[in-house]
Symmetry: C2
Amino acid sequence: MDARISRRLRQARVARLATADANGRPHVVPVCFARDGRSFYTPLDLKPKRVRLEELARVRHIRANSNVSLLVDEYSENWEKLWYVLVRGTARLLSKGKELAKAHRLLRTKYPQYRGRLLPEGAPVIRIRAQRIIGWGRL
Amino acid sequence: MDARISRRLRQARVARLATADANGRPHVVPVCFARDGRSFYTPLDLKPKRVRLEELARVRHIRANSNVSLLVDEYSENWEKLWYVLVRGTARLLSKGKELAKAHRLLRTKYPQYRGRLLPEGAPVIRIRAQRIIGWGRL
C-alpha cells in the first residue's frame, strides 16, 4: 500500500461506512475503526442503543449484502488540500473468536474511549476485508 | 423539520454521498452541497477531472439506481457530543433548466470557491430529493 494512504488511514479517527440493503438502497453512517493490514474493524458500540443489534441498518444490510465501502477524508476550505481514501470490500459480523479479541485490542489501543464500558467483552465488530483501496487528491 | 437538524444542515460544509450500483454495491464520496427545503444540490465539479462525467461512479450509479443517502456529521473525541443527520432520498442529474441555475446560485452563495472557474456555467449538479431526514445524537 502507498505510504501516504497508509498514513492517512492510521491517523484517521473517523470513517464513513456505506452499506446497501437487499434492494440496493444505500445507507451511510460515521464509524470508528481500527486497521490491521487489509482488515478494517468497526464496533457496534459507539452509540447509545436505541435499537437491538439485529435492527441496526448496517447489520441487516451486511447480512443481506456483504458489499461495503469505507471512506476516510478530511474537509478543508482550501480545496487544493482535499483528499480521500476509499476502501471497497466485503463485510462480516464477528461475534466471537480470536479475530474479535484482536479487533477489540486494536480498537482499545487506538481509542481510549473504548477502554471502558463502551466496548464490553465480546461486543460484536464488523470486519471489512478490503478488495480495493483507492486514494484521491492531496494525500 | 426540526430546527436543530435544519441548523446542522445549514452549517455543514461537507457531506458524504452514498450511492449503489445496479448490483447493490455501495460507494461513498465526500461532497459539497447546498439545500433548498427538501432538495439538496451537489455539483460534479469539485475535483480535478481525471475521468469523463459519464464515468464518475456516482453518475453511473444514479442512472442505474436513483436511491441515495447523504450524511452530515462531525467527529469529536468527546463522544457525548457526536451527532449526525442522514438524508435518504432519490437523486437525479440536472444538466439544464431553471432548477440547475438555482442550484448554481445556492452553491455560489454558500461556497466562495464556486464563484470562479470551479463551477462553470451549465456545470451539471446532482439533485437529491429527501424522502426521509433522520437526526441522531447531540444535535
